[in-house]
Amino acid sequence: MSRASSSAAGSAAAAPGSDRLWDSPLGRRLLGLGIWSLVVALWEWLTQSGNAPDYLVAPSAIVVTLARLAADGELWTHMAASLFRVAIGLSVGAVAGTLIGLLAGVNRAVELYFDPIISLTYPVPKIAILPILMAWFGIGDLSKIVIIITAVFYPTFINSYYGAKGVALSHLRAALNMGASPWRVFWRVVFPASLPQILTGLRIALALSFIVLFAAEMIGARSGLGYLIIVAENNLRFDIMYASLLTIGIIGLAADRGLLALRQRLLAGRPDAGSRR
């Protein structure tokens, strides 16, 4: 309210219509879009004029390659392989991490059991265990899925653990006072009370699962977008490398936006929802 009136007062003092557009949300968005369009245009011009090295492929050429990869089905095959691994690994790892994290937050025995294991293994870069996982589970989907499970377990465990630890004592007491069983308290108080932090953990897990998956696919796989990048590199096909990277970026953006939309839906009306970002 006060912001709107003060900005109205500000524009009244300045020349009418001068600094209005780029001060509005739409204007700021257009400005951002304009700057990036300029960069892409410059990039395009640089490559078309023949002044650019081979490894800088024109944006138009990347789009053409992407369209060709999509048309002959190669893109979809690799995308499906990557998405399948992420979907399984992320859901199994996130559900396990969240559940065990919540339990550790409310139960001292679970907490004491997991705390030293987590402290010991958390700092280990998960990609470093890929050779071992490949020795155990082969070069196929399973090693990728297991490494994603391992990677996403930590952020989901840690966030839900602190979420459960932070549940207000009076909320627990109010629930017990109404005759709730421990199980009901867990699902109807601890879980919803921790939901903002669970979703924060899930968002970190989503990003991590992509990072770990594409790294794993680049090291040892026979399909997937990470594998596509390595094959392209071996054949000096820079256009395919850029096209794969663009695809990865778009998938990541879509998944993250989807998760944010889910967060807004689940946390509607809650003052403890925290920032949306």
């Binding site: 207000a168 009076s170 909320h171 007491r173 109010a174 629930a175 017990l176 006072n177 109404m178 005759g179 709730a180 009901r184 109807r188 108080v189 919803p192 009370a193 939901l195 946390l267 009306g269 809650r270 003052p271 403890d272």
Partner: protein, 263 residues
């Protein structure tokens, strides 16, 4: 036999390697339909006593017996109001009030019917779909009261329920609680009301239970013989002032004693 019988109650806590005695031997009998205020210097164990009755803690020694059965765990026969309201922020107003009815396994339509009746009683029927974050402190405590009344406890436990409200809202809430408590549908439920506010205790209660400084023991029971139904005007009567002075002097002794260097 009284509805609530507290006998030889003692509660100790281990804190930093030494034992703190919160309640050092306490006896009290509360009759059905009585409004009892628990008053004492801070740290005297009045909230601990309420938690023991609620079943949130287990006493070191002694018993709490409600309607002939010893209390061992929390349960909906005792409805608790908290100073911080303890409403669930992820649920709407009606969702908070129906929570306890879900525990009892009532069908949805019946839950909502009961909840709406009690929301109406506390004057918040229009806010059924609002979220707690959208309500003022006084409104939140009224929702919490509706939530507790909805599962029909035999006694009400109130832990400084108006302690976090501003002075004006607090007086309004006291009037409203008196009103609701005196009204028929509730049938004057037994209330244990913890407060540090002497005026609140006198205005609301039939008896004021004064605690000694820690370890908390029974210092004095002051029966408040003011006519009911009470209204705000009673605060201006000479009898009220006399009670106020009496309790204030008794409480002052204890506060001074708790501050004196221990021998």
């Amino acid at each position: 036999m009284a509805q609530l019988e507290i006998t030889g109650l003692r509660q100790e806590f281990g804190r930093a390697g030494r034992t703190v005695v919160a309640i050092g031997g306490f006896d009290l009998a509360v009759e059905e339909g009585e409004f009892v205020a628990l008053v004492g210097p801070s740290g005297c164990g009045k909230t601990t006593l309420l938690h023991l009755v609620a079943g949130f803690e287990t006493p070191t020694a002694g018993t709490v017996v409600l309607d002939g059965a010893p209390i061992r765990r929390p349960g909906p026969d005792r409805g608790m109001l908290f100073q911080d309201f303890a409403l669930f922020p992820w649920r709407s107003v009606i969702g908070n009030v129906t929570w306890g009815l879900e525990v009892r396994g009532l069908p949805r339509a019946e839950r909502e019917r009961i909840a709406e009746r009690y929301l109406d009683l506390v004057g918040l029927a229009a806010f059924r779909d609002a979220y707690p974050s959208e309500l003022s402190g006084g409104m939140k405590q009224r929702v919490a009261l509706a939530r507790v009344l909805a599962f029909e406890p035999r006694i009400l436990l109130m832990d400084e329920p108006f302690g976090s409200l501003d002075a004006q809202t607090r007086e309004l809430m006291q009037d409203e609680l008196t009103e609701i408590w005196q009204r028929a549908p509730l049938g004057r439920k037994t209330v244990l009301f913890v407060t540090h506010d002497i005026d609140e205790a006198i205005y609301l209660a039939d008896r004021v239970i004064l605690f000694t400084a820690r370890p908390g023991r029974l210092k004095r029971i002051v029966a408040i013989d003011l006519p009911r139904p009470r209204a705000a005007t009673v605060r201006k009567s000479p009898e009220y002032t006399a009670y106020r002075n009496l309790i204030w002097d008794l409480l002052r002794e204890e506060v001074l004693m708790s501050r004196a260097p221990s021998a």
